[in-house]
């Protein structure tokens, strides 16, 4: 009984994680410019990572594999944002201006 519940929960987690990877991919294609595409990539990087790894940890159960998976997840979550920052900052430093407006400009309404 408890086994099948765990099985179902873990499959739901992994499937949802897979869906977030897919949505991240769709976003990277649909969104307009470099900096906004970065946001889609971070869907895959964080939400999908958490969901897929939680699902895998439930599959592994009370074995040595679970702490290993947890450690890999933590490392991915710690290094992912650093990589995002490196990519975004490299683009900024090499002169790619974000096609974004400041908050105040946006507040004045959508005059493009």
């Amino acid at each position: 009984m408890i086994d099948s519940v765990l099985e179902i929960v873990s499959w739901v987690l992994m499937a949802t994680g897979g869906a977030f990877v897919l949505i991240g991919g769709i976003g990277a294609l649909r969104l307009p410019e470099f900096y906004t595409r970065l946001h889609a990539a971070s869907l895959t990087e964080t939400m999908a990572t958490i969901l897929i790894f939680s699902g895998m940890m439930l599959q592994a159960g009370l074995t040595l594999a679970t702490p290993k998976l947890a450690a890999i997840m933590v490392f991915l979550l710690l290094t992912g944002p650093v990589a995002s920052y490196a990519v975004a900052n490299a683009a900024l430093q090499s002169g790619m201006r974000p096609g974004a407006r400041g908050l105040e400009e946006n507040d004045e309404g959508d005059a493009r």
Binding site: F20, I23, G24, I26, G27, R30, L31, P32, E33, Y35, T36, L38, H39, A40, S42, L43, T46, M47, I50, L64, P67, K68, A71, L77, L78, G80, P81, V82, S84, Y85, A88, N89, A91, L92, P98, G99, A100, R101, G102, L103, N106
Partner: protein
């Protein structure tokens, strides 16, 4: 401040001990060759850590104790903003309004600034693109996300870690 920091014996030995313990636990194999390779990789890691200025940083015990609460808050943020970004990506009209905000931080330590910047990047929809002294430039997917950032919740949560 010397870039690589003065090397104290106790932190170095502590790091090597933790590395050895985790290597043994995670490898689970006890052939002599593998044990020697493990010892070698632990020493190499400790040397790299020193080179990177690891021993210059200080992590107070209270920060470690408050980390779980911080991560819980971060998890809630990640889930909330992931659903929001997924909704935007999947809606046919693609309602994005890219906004750039400049935030300031009171964190005085390098670790504090890194944690704040990473926490902002980790939640989808906001990416830290530049950090200089105590200002951060954050690129947001929507205006709403930018306005939410200005409420400074991320700064308050990071300050609660007590990094000084």
């Amino acid at each position: 401040m010397p870039r690589r920091g003065t090397l104290k014996l106790l932190p170095l030995l502590g790091l090597i001990l933790i590395l050895l313990l985790s290597w043994t636990l995670w490898s689970g194999m006890f052939k002599p060759l593998l044990l020697w390779l493990g010892l070698f990789s632990c020493l190499l890691s400790a040397w790299l850590a020193r080179r990177m200025g690891f021993f210059r940083l200080q992590l107070p015990l209270r920060t470690l104790l408050r980390l779980p609460a911080f991560w819980l808050w971060l998890l809630r943020e990640v889930i909330k903003s992931s659903l929001e970004v997924a909704r935007i990506v999947l809606s046919p009209s693609l309602p994005v309004s890219p906004t750039l905000v400049t935030l300031t931080t009171d964190e005085s330590t390098e670790s504090g600034k890194v944690i704040l910047g990473n926490a902002i990047t980790l939640s989808p929809g906001t990416v830290t693109i530049d950090m200089h002294e105590d200002t951060l430039q954050v690129h947001c997917l929507t205006r709403e996300a930018a306005q939410a950032l200005q409420e400074q919740e991320a700064q308050r949560q990071t300050a609660r870690l007590g990094l000084g």
